[in-house]
Structures are given as structure tokens and as C-alpha cells.
Symmetry: C2
Subunit: 307 residues, 2 copies
């Protein structure tokens, strides 16, 4: 039930209508592994940071039981840095700064002790790097989940298509699904994308929930209606972390199991947006998580009896 997470571990500076932050811990790998830590106690990360990242931030991951042996520290370089500003609707944002820094030449070295990982979560990174990770694993994991974004569809589509053939589950948002498939209807988009390789497709729709597609099944997980969305940064990665963490803990990769994973992922994402960055998801109790999952149950469950 061990989980390997590969992604960025980085600094973000975020501005929302509610306020702004200095450099705080961000990156797909951070959100995924922290969210997963609430479900599986055996999470291993492969990522790269600069000398500026600091021991305190590494300890944040370690406090969540994340094995950081695969976290490379480039002492004389700087960590990946992203800065963005959200518009008033919180659904759109402008990227203010993107500094690749250590990510520019990231070589994902897999520690020997990670080789037996049964679950692999490829957070958003260059598709060629994601592919390299898969190729470097001596045994194919039981389940490979890949996240990506429109940026790679724009500049590395062939790499992306190659990597897609090697994974089990792809996780993208609705606009990315439309871009990748050339179809507006998400049902049609899903069919096309599943024919490109992955057996399952998750389409994230932000405040409108998430869809899980297999070749012949569809499941919908709602987003929790919230009074305030404070900061959406990392919600998609937190969702992915809850999803893969739950699957790694149950080892149930059936469609029914994935449905539950979607609900757990959605619950974790609903916490993420309540505060800046990782602030909310680093301090959750197990009972808070279970209560939140129960809110999802109450939100969508109903009983139909046919006359």
C-alpha cells in the first residue's frame, strides 16, 4: 500500500480578493503528499528544491509521514516559484511570475527503497519527466495516476500523448479535456481521451464537482457548496492526493473503489480552498475528514422507490 508521489515542491505567492501571501510552500507534490497522508502512512516523494527551500519546510512534509529521501536539494539553486492573482470570481487567475529554477533540469531519481511502490501519482510536471519516472520503475505499479495541464498540451503534446499510453488514470480539468480531445461535450471528450490510453479519466470542474469516466461508466462527485472560497490554489492537487491516498489505503482500484476515492478527494479539496495554500490541509484531524465526507454523503444521497 505504498505510494510514490512525483511532482513539484515549490514556493507560491498568492493574491486573492481576501489577501495576499509572501512565499509559501506550494507545488503539486506538496499538496498531493500532504492530502494523501491522511489516508496512507507510506508516502514517498520524488521532487527537487533549491537551497532556499529550508529545513523547516521539508520537516512539514516529514511531519505528515512523507518519506523525503527522494527530495533532491540543489543547494546553489532556487526552488520553483509561481505567483498568481485571482480575479473576483475566484475561477480565473493571472500568472504574475513563473520561475522554473531547479525544475528546468529536473532528473527524477528514484531511491532504491521506493522501487516497490504499488501506487504512483504523477503530479503536474513535464510529460517527458513523468514518462521517465515510469520507465525507471522496475516493476509497474498497480495503479498509475497522472495529472497534467493545458501548458503541456500547448508545448509538449507529443510527449503528453506518449505518456498517456502508459498510465491508468488521467486527471485534468474540463477546459483541458476539451483542448486535448477537440470535443466540447465532456462525454465525447472522455471517449476520445480514453481511446488515447488511460482506462479512466477524471475531469475536474472546480466548484462544479468532478466526473469519473471509464469506457462504459460515469460517476459524478459534487463539490461542496461553500460560503467562501478563500484560495483555490492547490485544490486540484489536493483532490488528486485524497484520491490516490484513499486508493492506496484500500488497494481497491475497481470503479466502485475509485468512486469512493473521488469523494475523499473532493472532501480534501473542499478543505484546501478554505485557507491560503496548504494552511488548512496541514492541520486536519481524522474526525474532521470523516465529518466532511459525511457532508458529501448528505449532499447527494437520496432514496428512490419505484411504484
Amino acid at each position: 500500500m505504498s505510494l510514490l508521489v512525483v511532482g513539484s515542491v515549490a514556493f507560491d505567492a498568492i493574491e486573492t480578493p481576501f489577501g495576499k501571501t509572501d512565499k509559501i510552500v506550494g507545488g503539486s507534490g506538496s499538496y498531493i503528499s500532504i492530502a494523501a497522508s491522511y489516508f496512507t502512512k507510506n508516502t514517498n516523494i520524488v521532487a527537487v528544491v533549491g537551497g532556499d527551500f529550508g529545513q523547516t519546510n521539508i520537516e512539514l512534509l516529514q511531519r505528515h509521514g512523507v518519506n523525503t529521501d527522494g527530495l533532491q536539494i540543489k543547494e546553489n539553486e532556487k526552488s520553483f516559484f509561481w505567483s498568481g492573482k485571482y480575479h473576483n470570481d475566484m475561477n480565473t487567475r493571472d500568472t504574475l511570475v513563473t520561475e522554473l529554477n531547479v525544475l528546468e533540469h529536473f532528473d527524477p531519481i528514484i531511491p532504491e527503497a521506493y522501487q516497490s511502490c504499488e501506487f504512483l501519482m504523477l503530479g503536474n510536471l513535464a510529460p517527458a519527466v513523468q514518462q521517465m519516472v515510469i520507465e525507471r520503475l522496475e516493476t509497474r505499479p498497480k495503479l498509475i495516476v497522472m495529472d497534467t495541464m493545458n501548458f503541456w498540451m500547448d508545448i509538449a503534446l507529443d510527449d503528453l500523448k506518449n505518456t498517456l499510453k502508459m498510465v491508468d488514470v488521467l486527471s485534468i480539468n474540463d477546459e483541458e479535456a476539451r483542448q486535448l480531445s477537440g470535443e466540447y461535450s465532456l462525454v465525447k471528450a472522455a471517449k476520445k481521451i480514453i481511446s488515447m490510453g488511460p482506462q479512466y479519466l477524471i475531469i475536474k470542474k472546480g466548484e462544479h464537482g468532478a466526473l469519473l469516466f471509464s469506457k462504459d461508466q460515469i460517476f459524478f462527485a459534487p463539490a461542496l457548496p461553500l460560503e467562501d472560497v478563500f484560495d483555490p490554489t492547490g485544490a486540484g492537487d489536493t483532490f488528486a492526493g485524497g484520491f490516490i491516498g484513499y486508493l492506496a489505503s484500500t488497494r481497491d482500484t475497481s470503479f466502485e473503489g475509485m468512486k469512493r476515492g473521488l469523494i475523499y478527494g473532493s472532501a480534501m479539496a473542499s478543505f484546501c480552498v478554505e485557507k491560503f495554500g496548504t494552511e488548512r490541509i496541514v492541520n486536519l484531524s481524522d474526525s474532521e475528514v470523516q465529518e466532511r465526507v459525511q457532508e458529501f454523503v448528505d449532499l447527494v444521497q437520496f432514496e428512490i422507490t419505484y411504484n
Copy 2:
């Protein structure tokens, strides 16, 4: 279990990326009463048409068991006419023509035989007309559901607020909920709107489903992901018709009952968008309806077992 539907019975001319129609039967009253007819066999309509509407179109309603004694025919006037063109995303449309015609001086006369109706569905009409209907009923119905739109918030807000105090359930879309409440968050919007009168609020989000709010409960009904949305005209009214028709048939106005009503309404709306106008919803079999409801069950139901 009798249902009174008040709304427009009219002509629409619709253009979508898939084609265009001549004048076809439309109007909130038509969609609502046809959709409701799949659940309750005792539906009574109050509406007004012109001499141009024609006996064949009236018989369409009658064939669905709708009592048209309250359908006024103004022989020398013309029926309400709306024409619109949908954009490629099918989520936005331009109104090309609105001719009020008979609706301009609509006096909703309630036939004596309708007085005992237990369920009242006020389709989109001037709020002052909706209020007049409530005032003309000698016994208050068990449940009053009201639909409205942004147009009335723009030109008749005071009337709308007065009518809101007299109804049990308000049904509007997300943008209208934001406009009426002045709140962007739908959770905050719902609180404000419920404090304005109705005990329950339904917020329709089109392809993103619908939310049902009470003072302290929330339920979410998804929309069915479809390969093609052919024509969204009337989907909100069809939803309302399925909702109130189901409630009238079960007489269960509890929150649990309304949850089921939302699912039946959503199922009916998912049929509506598959063809132009009322074309799809006039020819459904009961088994098609039940199978569609089962698709909703399959779409959102999951089982969580806590460890």
C-alpha cells in the same frame, strides 16, 4: 393530488448550432404541464393564447391529461412569441424577438373546479400576476412553487419580493440567485433569499445540476452528462414540471421528498434538451423515465464504509 399550473402557453422559434425551427409550441406552462403529466394525472392549467394557437396545439396538452378549462383563447389576438438563437457553447443565447401579445393584459381567471388544487406551480410570469393567482385561491395550496427570471428582478423587483413572501419554494438559476441576493457565493445567496420568504430555494445550474436549500440543509442533484445538448429551451420549466408533478403524485413535501423531486425534475430536463422544444418530452414512455432516473442513481450513488 391535483396540480394547478399557471404560466405561458406560447410560440417559440429557436435557432441552435444544430438547426432552426419555425413557430413551435413553447412557454413555461406548456413545458411544466407536459413534464408533470408523467407523474400526476390531475393537472389543470391557467394560461392565455391567441386565436393563432390552434386546436391541434391545445389537444397536445389535453392528450397529456391536462385540463385546459382554464386556458383562455383570445380569438382576435396573437399568442406570446419568443425567438432566440443559441451560441455555440449552448449556454448563452440572444433573444431575437419578444412579442408579449396576449400576455400583456393577462388576467389569470381560476375556474371554480380548480379551487381545490393542492399543488400550485407558478411558471415564469409577471410577479404581480403570480400573486393574483395566489390571492384568488380560496384555500391556500399545500405547496406553492414559483419560478421567475432576471427580467422581473430588473423591472418589477418590489412585486417579486412581495410574491416571494407568499410561496414555499422558489426556483431560479445561479445568476438570478446572485442578482436577487447580491451575493456571489450560492450558499450565502441561498441564506439571504430564504430570509426573504420561501422556505426552500432551488438554484438551477444548467449542465452543472441543481441545488436545493432549506434553512439548514443542502441537497445537490447532478445534470446527466450528455453527448449532445440539442436545444436547452424549456429545460428549466421541464425540470420544474417534473419536480412539482412528482411531489403532487406522492404528496410528500418533506425535504427527503423534495430531494427525490429534484432527481425526477433533472431526469425530465435531460430528455428536454435532446430535441427541439417539447418534441422529446411529448413522447416518453414511463419506462424511459424510470430508466433515466436509474441513470441518475448510478451517476451519484456510492457507498462509504468507515474503518
